[in-house]
Structure formats: C-alpha cells, structure tokens
C-alpha cells in the first residue's frame, strides 16, 4: 500500500515503514538506544530526503522511548535523579551543538563531518564494548570464580558535590554525569540522533551504573532531548513529516515493548555484546561508504541549502 508523505513529497510503501519501525523499536527496547543511528541511514536508503529523515526520526524516537520508559518505570529501573542531571547537561549541550552545527554548515562539508563523527564514535564505542563484554563473558564462565567487581574508586569519586543515587546504588559527584550529558547533547545535535549509543556505554563505564538501570535512565533522558530537537526542526526547517512519523512509530512502539521483554530475559553481558556488534556493523557500513568509490559521483541539492 503506497502512502504519499506530505512533507517529504515522496510516495512509499506503508508496510515497509511499519516493518522498519518495528525492527528498530525492538532494538530500542532491548538496548535503551533510540535507534536513530540505525533508522536515519535506512530512511536515506528508501529515498526519504535526508533533512526530512533526520527531523522525523527525532519525533519517532520520542514515541518509542516513551513507550520503552513506561515499561522500565514499572520495573523500577529508571534512576530519575540521575536522569534529570544528565538531561540538564544534555539540553545545554544540545543548544551548544546547534550553534556549532550552524557554524560548520557555513563552512560547508558538514555532511562529511557528520559521517566521520559516526565512524569514529561508533567504532571506538563498539570496539571497547565488544572487548569488555567478551572478557566479562569469559570470566563468568570460569568455574567457582566470584563475580568480578567493576566498581573502582578513582578520580570520579574524589570530586565534590556528592549525591546519593539510590536506584543506581551510587554515591558520586554530580559533575561527571553533568559533563557526560553535556557532551552527549553536543554530539546528538551534530549527529542528529538521541545519543543513546554514546550515553549507554558512558553510564556503564564512566559512571559505573548497573546495566539494568542504565537502559531505562537513558530512555528517560532521550525523550526530552529528542522532543527538543523535533521542535527545533519543526519550527526552523519545516522538515518533520508527521505521516512518516506515525507510520514509523506505530511499528516502533510495538517493537519497543517486545524489545523490553527480550532485554529483561537476557544477561547483561550478552546484551552488551549484541549492541557492540550492531554498533560496529553500522560503523563498518559508513566507513565503506567513505572509502569505496560511490556508484553515483554526483548528488543534487536544493540551491541555498547546505
């Protein structure tokens, strides 16, 4: 069934969009990532104009994250206190990121920068997670070995302004989460994603939060960052396509519910290694696009646009 999208001005198959939304929704519920880093390239691939894809994707992430976070609320795996602090940093970072983005746009080559950002961040994060989770799985297989304690007492614990985060079982300074939120906010504004794939590992490895809490908390803050981005795109670029968003999110919200159930039944290490594999796969695809000669050297853009 073909549907004409009023803002994107293209006609696409409705079931294809529902399917894509569902697939990405499952991943979103399982890993606590918005799925934007996966969905946005997929939308380019089926012929949605990039500007519309990025803006609409933000709107769709709001829906799937909201659906996912409700499930996590019921399981009490959302650290509201931590989420709020991350969010504060995130919104400041997003505002800074938009300024930076517009500056780079005036220089040209912003597309290239976005792609390089993707390759570097996805590569580093995916690689680190992959190695770490492999080690964790190997250790847990050793018979009789006590479960490893990952919590080190380093420079993060020496900072002032300490706060107790009961849900996460942490007593740390508010500065590290604030900085993490800020950096993720900047990156998510530049890369046009919710930032879950950066946020989740940062929470696990930098802040030492338990994996189960990380997913819900990440979803919680993603809702607000992407809602902010949606409004920004809707009012400045007019590129949010609500029909496209509805089709994606119908599939997405259902997928997120299924994903949350699957995620709850899996071991943390397995969950992490799967996410790492996924991140590395997307990174590899983007890197190949940059390295191999494209089949069409030319691209068309509206005059005056970037």
């Amino acid at each position: 069934m073909q549907i004409y999208l009023p803002i994107a001005e293209v006609s696409v198959n409705a079931f294809l969009l529902l399917g894509l939304g569902g697939m990405v929704g499952i991943l979103s519920g399982m890993f606590g990532v918005g799925g934007g880093f996966l969905m946005t390239p997929l939308l380019f691939f089926i012929g949605i104009p990039p500007a519309v894809a990025v803006a609409t994707e933000a709107n769709q992430i709001v829906a799937s994250s909201f659906s996912g976070v409700l499930a996590h609320f019921r399981r009490r795996t959302v650290d509201l206190k931590m989420g709020t602090i991350l969010l504060t940093g995130g919104l400041i970072g997003a505002a800074l990121g938009v300024v930076l983005f517009n500056y780079l746009k005036s220089l040209g080559q912003v597309d290239l920068l976005v792609k390089l950002c993707y390759v570097v961040f996805l590569g580093v994060i995916g690689g680190l997670m992959f190695i770490e989770s492999l080690n964790a799985i190997r250790k847990s297989r050793k018979p009789g070995g006590a479960p490893p304690k990952r919590r080190q007492r380093g420079w993060i614990h020496a900072m002032p302004l300490k706060m107790r985060f009961r849900t996460s079982g942490l007593y740390i300074s508010v500065i590290p989460p604030m900085v993490v939120g800020l950096l993720v906010g900047v990156l998510s504004a530049i890369m046009g994603v919710g930032g879950g794939f950066i946020m989740v590992p940062a929470m696990i490895y930098l802040l030492g939060m338990p994996t189960k809490v990380v997913v819900g908390t990440s979803l919680f803050q993603i809702i607000f960052v992407t809602a902010f981005t949606t409004m920004l795109h809707a009012t400045t670029n007019y590129t949010v396509d609500v029909v496209l968003a509805v089709l994606l999110l119908v599939g997405g919200v259902i997928g997120a519910q299924i994903g949350t159930v699957i995620g709850g039944k899996m071991k943390a290490e397995q969950l992490r290694i799967l996410l790492a594999g996924l991140v590395l796969a997307v990174c590899g695809k983007l890197a190949l696009d940059l390295l191999l000669m494209p089949s069409e050297l030319y691209s068309l853009g509206a005059a005056g646009g970037h």
Binding site: V10, S67, L112, A234, T235, V253, M293, P294, A302
Partner: protein, 258 residues
C-alpha cells in the same frame, strides 16, 4: 468606391495569409487538468488527446508529427561532485544549475530527431537537455557540462525525466493521443503541457495549457499547518508520539495481564 474595392481586395489578400501561418491548429483535450495528491497517491496517468483543425486540405509532403512535452515547475539545483581526498570520498566541486524542471516528459509520434530539427529544438527548448538551463559554471571546474548531465541522469533514474519516442498515436494526420504517466514522487505546482505540430522537422503550430498538481485533503492540511503554524505542528507531532508510546505500553500490558 475605388478605395473600397482596394480595401476589399487587400482584405481578401491578407486574410488567407493570416490563416496560412496557423493553418493547422490544435484542439486539445485532457483526461484531467488537475492532479490531486491524496494520501494514497501513487502516480497518475494523464491522457492527452486532440485534433488538428484546418480549413485547407492536408498539405502534401512530409507527414504531420506531434510532440507533447509536460514539464513541472522549474527550480535551481545545486549539483555536487565527489572526489577522493586523503583516501575518502568527499563532496568537492559544485555547480549551480539555474533552472531544472522537477518533472519532464516528452512524447513524440516518431523518433525524436525525425520529429524535429536541432534548430527548432533549440528555439522551443523541447528536449530534456535543452529544458535545463545552466549558465556559466566556474571556469576552473573541469567538465562543467557533466553536472547538467548528472541532473538528467539522476532524475531519469527516479522516473522524473523521460523521453518516450513513438508513443503519440496520430490518425489520418488529424487525431492524436498519448498517455503521460506521472510517478508518485511528484512535487506540487503548475505543470505545463506543450504540444508541437511539426512537418519535416519544422514546427508549424504550438499549443500550451497547464495541469494543476496539488495536494488535497489531509495532505494539504498538514502541509499548510507545518508552514503556517510550525509550533502547533511540532507540538501536535510530539503529542501524537507520546500518545502512541503510552497507548502501545498500555495495550501491551493489558495483553500480558490477561
């Protein structure tokens, strides 16, 4: 009296000359003169048909050929070319093509170059490459012509540009008809339909009309809202997202509860 007869003579001389120039005229019919883009729009076929009106017998010599050109609204297009720099492919040179139609279809009653001569094509800008206007590219860009060709190639791949030779049926040099199918990825605007009658490669008559392509209903409403009330539109999008997220969560819980 004499003056009058002179005038009458003059008139008798002039009138046939005046009709000579437009001796063959197009009387056109369109299966539709507006295309409504609805939510389930997946392209549209437009039947363009007509007759040739003439006061004199069919002229001898070259047979009559008909060319139909349908063109979407034109806009400037920025064309970029990728180049390998430091091992990766990046956008390097760019050329602004001043005016390229969003849609362009040419249907002819014979092979294109038999239907019309090159000079006539140049004058009336009928073939696709002539319909695109590209004024001087930067002098230090190599092969600037390739940028205009790239526009044609990319849009032809999207079924937006096409040349359909031998698709206009002409009966008895008097009736003609053709079908132009427009793809689903149309943009809005006034599309022009031009009909050229040619003999021996020379244009003997032209006719032009417009086809109105517009979004209607929900499509129209959403598009207008997003432009005129962007804040309302944005909030509406967010409200839908939140409602859908909550709805799915509640529905799923109800399903598992039973």
């Amino acid at each position: 009296m004499r003056v009058l007869t002179y005038l009458a003579l003059l008139a008798a001389l002039i009138v046939p000359v005046a009709t000579q120039a437009t001796e063959e005229q197009v009387v056109l019919g369109l299966s539709r003169d507006r295309v409504a883009i609805t939510a389930n729009f997946d392209g549209s076929d437009i039947l363009i048909f007509g007759a040739i009106k003439r006061e004199t017998p069919i002229p001898d010599g070259d047979p009559l050929q008909v060319i139909v050109a349908v063109s979407g609204p034109s806009a400037p297009v920025l064309v970029r070319r990728k180049e390998k720099k430091l091992g990766i492919w990046v956008n390097a040179d760019s050329v602004l093509v001043d005016s390229a139609p969003s849609f362009y279809a040419v249907a002819t009653s014979s092979p294109f170059h038999e239907a019309i001569s090159d000079t006539e094509d140049l004058r009336h800008k009928i073939s696709i490459t002539r319909a695109i206007r590209s004024v001087g590219a930067d002098m230090n860009i190599q092969n600037a012509q390739e940028f205009a060709e790239a526009v044609v190639r990319i849009r032809a791949n999207d079924a937006l540009y096409s040349i359909r030779e031998n698709t206009v049926a002409v009966d008895e040099q008097t009736l003609f008809r053709t079908e132009i199918d427009m793809p689903a990825n149309l943009t809005e605007g006034n599309y022009s339909a031009r009909i050229f009658l040619t003999r021996g490669g020379k244009v003997v008559s032209t006719y032009e009309t417009t086809i109105d392509v517009q979004k209607v209903g929900l499509e129209r409403f959403l598009f207008n809202l997003s432009r005129e009330q962007p804040i309302v539109y944005g909030l509406m999008s967010l409200a839908i997202a939140i409602a859908a997220g909550w709805g799915a969560s509640a529905a799923f819980r109800a399903l598992r509860g039973t």
